[in-house]
Each structure stands twice: as C-alpha cells, then as structure tokens.
Symmetry: C2
Subunit: 255 residues, 2 copies
Amino acid sequence: MTARAADPANRTAAEAAGKRTLADDAYAELKARIMRSELAPGAKLSIDGMAKELAFSQTPIREALARLESEGLLARRPLSGYTVEPLLSAAEFADLFDLRMMLEPLAARRAAERLAAEAELGGAAAAEPVQGPAAGLFDAARTPHPSAGKLEFTEADRRFHDAVAECSGSVQIAKAIRRLDAHLHLHRAYIAPESIGETEAEHLAIADAIIAMKPLAAEEAMRRHLERSKVRHAAAFTAANAEAVSKPKRARANR
Amino acid sequence: MTARAADPANRTAAEAAGKRTLADDAYAELKARIMRSELAPGAKLSIDGMAKELAFSQTPIREALARLESEGLLARRPLSGYTVEPLLSAAEFADLFDLRMMLEPLAARRAAERLAAEAELGGAAAAEPVQGPAAGLFDAARTPHPSAGKLEFTEADRRFHDAVAECSGSVQIAKAIRRLDAHLHLHRAYIAPESIGETEAEHLAIADAIIAMKPLAAEEAMRRHLERSKVRHAAAFTAANAEAVSKPKRARANR
DNA sequence: CGCGACACTATCCTATAGGATATTCGGCAT
DNA sequence: ATGCCGAATATCCTATAGGATAGTGTCGCG
C-alpha cells in the first residue's frame, strides 16, 4: 500500500515492466542495501525486523530473502535467520578471480567478434539490435566520472563489466559473470580512490578494442585489466583485513 | 494446527536429521519432480495446487518456488503463476554447451593437478581430506550400471560431472558447472539408450586420467566426452523437436 | 571460582483469511 | 463466422495469528 519507491537499477526478475510485486520491491531494496554495504557482511537479518522496516508483510520479505540466498548473497541457517554472506577470504577471493579471469576475457573477445560478424554481413540496417549494446557499452565505460562518490564508481564498474558480458552474445556467460560480479561488489568498497582513474582508462581501452572489432586485443585488454584490478583489490584486501582484526565487533543491522 | 497427522516424515526429519524445514523439503521434492520430468517443461505450477498436493501450506511452497526461479528452472510471471522453464532451443543449447566446454575440461585438469600436488607433498596421511573426493569420483564414474532405468543413468551422469567439479578444488567453478548441469538435466531425458555404455566408458576414461594425475589427459578426455555428448544430444534433440511439433498440446501438471 | 541446568525471550516457521488482479468463457454486434 | 466486450472464476498476493524452536541470561551447585 505504501512505499512504492522507484528503483530502476534492477533488471533481474520480471521481464514485464509494469508487473512489480511487493516481493520484487523487497528484493531490489534489500539487494541494493547489501550492495551499498548498508547491510554489513556478517550482519544478521531478521525477517520481521525487515518487514517492519520496509513496511511490508513477512511473506514478500521471505520470498526476497529466499531469492537472495539462492543467489549466494545471503546465508540461511534453518532455524536462526539469515545473515549477510561475509567477505571472501583470501583463498576464496583468488578462486573467484580465477574464474573471472577465465570468463571475462572470453566475453570481451566474443563481443568484438560478434560486432565484426554483424558489421560484415549486415552493413545496412534492420535485422539485429546490435547497435544498442555497443553504444551502451561505450557509455558504460565512460561513466566512471572524475569526481563522484565511491559508490557511484563501484556501481559504474559493475555496469561496465555487465555491459561487456551482455555484448558477448552468450546469455550463459553473461549470467555467470553477473553472478560473480554480485559477490565481488562487496569488495569493491575497499578499493583505493586513487585507482579510479586507472580503472576508467582500462575500461576505455577495452571498449575501444571491442568497438574497433579487434577480438584478440579486446581479450588481452580485459585480461590486463583484471590482472591489475586483482592487484589493486589485493592491496585493499589486506588493509581491510587488518582493520577487521583491529575491530572484531560483530555488526548488527537488524532491528 | 491441522494437517499434521498425515505426514509422519517431516517431524522425524526436522528433529533427527539436522535442520530441515518444510521449505527445504518442498524445494527438494519439486526439484526432483522437475528433474524426473514429472513436471513437463512448459507446465504451469499453481501455488496452492502444489500446497495441497504436498500437504504443505502455501508459504513453504512459495519459498521453494522462489529459490527454483532464482536457479533458472522456473519462470515466474508476476501475477499469473510459475511455469517450468521450457526446453532449450537449439541456439540456447549450443550456447550452454559452449560454456560447459569451457568449464568442465578445466575442472578435470584442475582435479588431476590438485591430486598430484597433494600426493607430492603429503605422501603419508592426515592433513587434507582428499582421499574422499577422489574415491567418490571413481565410484561416480562406475555408477552407470549396465541395465537400470534411464532415470538412474541420467542421475548418475549428473553425479559424475558434479564429482569432477567438486574435485577441481574451486568452489566457484563447481557452482557454475552445477548450475549448467541442472538445466541440461532436462535434456538428458531424450538421449538414446544405446549411448549409455558409450558414456560410461568415457566417464571411466576421465576418472582414470584424473586418478593417474595426468592433467592434460584428463582435460582432453573431458573435452572429447563433451564433444561426443554434444553430438548424442543433438541427435536426440532434433528427434524430440519433431515429436514436439507433432504434439502441440500444452501440458498441464497442476491441480 | 567454574560449570551445568533451567527458564525466558526473541525469532522463525506454519497456517488460514481476505482483498486484488489476470485469465477465461459466454454472448452480442459486425 | 469472426472479433470484441463484460462478468464470473480461479489464482495470486498480502496480512495476521498461533505453535515450535534456538539462543541467552541467570541461578544454583560442586
């Protein structure tokens, strides 16, 4: 009845635009809060606490939580509630980045290949809506604006990688990448602000290579970007860990 | 308060076997039914129909359905119910197999590498529980028994690939593979019975290579297995499609 | 002073009722 | 005969109440 706030960012669940249920809203809102680190990793989520806070009933909250749990962002302990999945350990982080290093360069290569193939056979207009993705990709690469909040940057970063994945033409690869991305997003909060410009430059290089239809260059650019990104994250990673050790207080974010 | 008498299984499960809720049971049961093709692709699932059929309330059913939807096995149309995701089109199938071809050979290689590494440094006993996975892997490869039902075979097939993924040591890769596997499972129902022995031989070859700690051989064996498997599936695929065209009646499996 | 048992509280899980919406079927006009 | 429109139905979505369970704090005893 109340709280029908607009949240255009999620495209996950429903294909139809006008069919939003309260469960969808709750899902989007909770996911956004996790992404924004308003719900700290390790925090405990109480069902009716969230229900009261969002002014929903328990049922849509429960549905949203089930979805988030299946996505890997939440952990469920059967009779004691949901908790936000904690930050990845060093090993888990390496593992995740490992798979990412396998998927994303491939996606970049595919994107360039696909663009080339379609430019070749259909120089004119019509058949496939490829122009959209490519243009969006370039936009996404540029979006890390010079002096905005860190939150906007992490979101733009996510969007760019998502756009590349989308351009690859493989929905399965795109899905896999998006899934990994959701987990990494929590760690993005710990990057150093100085590296934003660096990241943007690398993104632009990737976008250029794709739009120039150079598959190998795109793949290599993405690989280089991920390598450097891994180093950047690792630096922030140890710093965050040190901080976490110095403050072992358990965060609580429910009500 | 009612409907507790006719279900003796749930109390024992919840009390003895750890932490199972009705939602978990509903999820497992529904997933099993989908896997067994008792719920045909495209079939419509009604929430309270399922609730009545499983003698649960709507809430656990709803939670289970939300999880299955997030897993990609069900599609949700916001105000008109859930439907079982239809069989993949040829293009989608190729796309999925493409990613599989990327992931699974890698997993096989990793499994062999990991086994070799751990055999090298810890010849004796103790530290890591690696013996379990390797042994389970060999068992899983053998399980396609000569003359059982087709259902048992498809399940064993799934288990074997799952075991290899598990042995890779990368939880992310394992998760990705498992996800793809769930989708492929529906198509496994259409394979020809003659190819069972063939599949088993290929599985055994993979397991042998892994246990012999030959990474490249394992990778190649898996790749070959997938290639052949793709062909086998493709044959059954066109057959199933022809049949589907001849019988365009919409399946209904709710109540 | 440490440890175990007990009771209490908070929370989850389940069940049922009511309001809102999409789908469907029948009738009518063209 | 076909297409459009309206009412009835089925289903979903939401809300609230009650029973059961895990976690926590306190008290008593060794």
